[in-house]
């Protein structure tokens, strides 16, 4: 039953917000829905830990530790983003950003807000559906659903550049996902002879995973490559990453944060499910080699763009390309340690990334620019909270100790060495260091320095509380991981490594 509620809550909140007329009501509905969602997600985690996988409707929806983890992360990201969104859009409304578009009617602002508050729950609904769908076809449908819901978020401001970004996102995403669909069809084909079923269960993950060793091997090989390209496009690994900087810099901040921290997990979740099938069918070598190749390539591509970046929101996108590369690489290293590193990284990345976006959003709304050159530095004087948090989030996201991403990156490094690789972990560390220095130089220049004399700002309680709240979570997680969360991650590692 809990699985159905997890889906019903966001699905109901979207249309409900659409029929509301007042801004406050929409905000309340959104916040309430996502708070309930987070509680439900936590409850699901507890239940999976206590009594194993949960399923309803003859296994149409199914949740094991891996799905529960992704649901929990999505719900967390959705909640913090919606808290921030309240302050962010109020600021937008006051500063008249909505009025810059084609018509100057007074109803435009409320229509834009309605668009956001109605679409976001649907977007979150598709993310939750990705994790809960047992059927690999439905998984594909849900991932496509996240694209469709978020295209509107990317073109939210209706500028020429947002249209360009949305077009790129929709077309590249569409082609990528059609490859993933082809991969799904081929997986069905390769399983179909072993299972001998024509029914819905023929694509159910819980049915496939037990028989994966009998699948038709050449078909499965091609299927995995197509899936990697397809879901890799959605996760933004190089060379299919080109939509990412545009989409992240054009979407409103809460939407961009959800793309970076939520959709990324969903795409990787899809990839992991097929990784399990393909390594059971073909042995881990093929998948490992491809994943390592694409992972390192993504990290390598991110390095020069972060070093010479002029725009801080695009820089966040390259950081996200780098992180998806790290996770794919960790999966490629494989073994209990590599998979543990990947899932820890996924968890820590999801709690860290939103803060980075929030700070960037605060800075952008205050200075009305997202270029380093025009920002002039010295933000710590006018915006002590956002400036300080920006610096802290930068350290956290680039994996500096004591923040938690250091832990996961170190685990991945150990996994690399323990698999007997030598050059690859060294390359991994080199890229990390380069990205760390580039990122830190840019943000330090932005935050520190002499006071440029901008009047002090930061009065909005919503923006402040979301920044302080996620900063606290990051600091606490640096020193202490709640035991149930860690058990959930370990359960998910068992699923990926042994397929159970």
């Amino acid at each position: 039953m809990i699985l159905l509620w997890l889906l019903i809550v966001p699905l109901a909140a979207g249309p409900l917000a659409f029929f509301l007329r007042r801004r406050q009501l929409m905000e309340v509905v959104n916040l309430f829905a996502f708070a309930v969602l987070l509680c439900l997600a936590a409850a699901l985690g507890v239940r999976v830990l206590r009594s194993g996988p949960v399923s309803v409707w003859d296994g149409f929806f199914y949740a094991d530790a891996l799905s529960a983890l992704v649901v929990l992360l999505s719900a967390f990201v959705a909640l913090v983003c919606s808290i921030y969104a309240v302050g962010y859009f109020r600021h937008d409304e006051r500063s008249g950003v909505f009025q810059e578009g084609e018509d100057l009617g007074g109803g435009r602002a409320i229509n834009k807000l309605r668009e956001y508050y109605a679409l976001t729950p649907l977007f979150v609904f598709s993310m939750i559906l990705v994790a809960l769908a047992n059927n690999l076809g439905i998984l594909w449908v849900a991932i496509e659903g996240t694209t469709l819901a978020s295209v509107f978020l990317v073109m939210f401001y209706g500028r020429e550049t947002s249209l360009e970004a949305a077009w790129k996102y929709a077309i590249i995403g569409g082609v990528g996902l059609s490859m993933a669909l082809f991969g799904t069809i081929l997986t069905y084909y390769s399983a179909h002879q072993a299972l001998g079923t024509d029914t819905l269960a023929g694509l159910n993950w819980s049915a496939l995973v037990g028989n994966a060793s009998q699948f038709d091997k050449p078909t499965m090989r091609l299927a995995f490559i197509l899936i990697l390209l397809g879901y890799g496009t959605k996760a933004g690994i190089a060379p299919m990453h080109t939509w990412k900087p545009d989409a992240y810099s054009e979407a409103p901040i809460p939407g961009a944060a959800m793309l970076a921290a939520g959709v990324l997990n969903c795409a990787l979740y899809g990839l992991v499910r097929f990784y399990i099938l393909s390594s059971k069918c073909l042995g881990p070598e093929l998948a490992s080699h491809l994943l390592i190749l694409f992972g390192l390539l993504s990290m390598g591509v991110a390095v020069p763009f972060i070093l010479v970046q002029k725009n801080f929101r695009r820089m966040l996108a390259y950081s996200s390309i780098d992180h998806s590369g790290i996770m794919v690489l960790a999966l490629g290293f494989g073994g209990p340690l590599g998979v543990l590193g990947m899932l820890l990284h996924m968890t820590f990345h999801s709690i860290t990334k939103p803060l980075l976006f929030f700070c960037a959003g605060n800075v952008q709304q205050q200075l009305k620019t997202d270029l380093f050159r025009e920002a002039k530095g010295g933000l710590i004087h006018s915006m002590p909270l956002s400036g300080g948090a920006f610096l802290m989030a930068t350290l956290a996201v680039t994996g500096a100790p004591p923040f938690s991403l250091f832990l996961s990156e170190f685990t991945i490094l150990r996994a690399g060495f323990s698999r007997g690789y030598l050059v690859l972990p060294v390359l991994f560390v080199t890229f990390l260091v380069a990205i760390f220095s580039g990122f830190l130089i840019h943000i330090a220049n932005l935050v520190l320095g002499p006071d440029p004399g901008i009047p002090a700002a930061e009065t909005c309680r919503w923006k402040k509380s979301s920044v302080v709240g996620s900063a606290l979570v990051i600091i606490v997680m640096g020193f202490w991981i709640p035991a149930p969360l860690f058990r959930l991650i370990q359960g998910a590692v068992d699923i990926v490594v042994s397929g159970r």
Binding site: V141, L148, I171, S178, L181
Partner: protein
Amino acid sequence: MTFLQDPEFGDRVITLMAALVLVLQIAAVGQRWLVSSIRIFAVQSFLLAAIAGIIAYFNHASHIYIAALLTLILKAGLLPWFLERLVRRIEIRREIEPLINAPLSILIAGCLTLVGYVVAQSFYHPEETSVRAALGHNTLAVAIALFLIGFFTMLNRRKALTQVLGLLSLENGLFLAAISLTYGMPLVVELGIFFDVLVAVMVLGILVFRIREAFDSMDVSKLRKLRE
């Protein structure tokens, strides 16, 4: 009417129709009028629906009838109607000169068909001589060729609408692969996929319209502001 029960007859009809689908796709590569491209897509989808219907008939797989019906309604009816309306509203009839000219494009499409056959060969298990296994083999080659040619069209064309058409013919290739390889995905999945295709086209249609409004053209090569 005994030939109506003969699977070999079904195989021939399907192969013939798949060949027609491929010919139409190659014709679309050389086509410059938007309305003709849309109509070619509609006829192609109609043929696909017919292929699905025949496969359903000869394999007694009733759920494929639903897929066939959906293809007929959505892809051969609703989507072309929507796209043609869009073309009328934005008043652009012709594709500007594609990146690669028509004769060379057709040649490339031919080569991609060959690639399709080579890839399809690896799925062909001669030891399984049952008619059911052999029935869809040629069709698979056509499906892969459609997928590749759709991909090529998207790279080659610069109008937003022709890129959407490329994406749709790529989806047609997938549909053909799905029915010829496995006699259809489970029905729920197919419904989901159709729904997604429909919504995707609507979303892209809105985008095309907005691009046209903002840039006074649908030429996506004008979308060049976001650069490093």
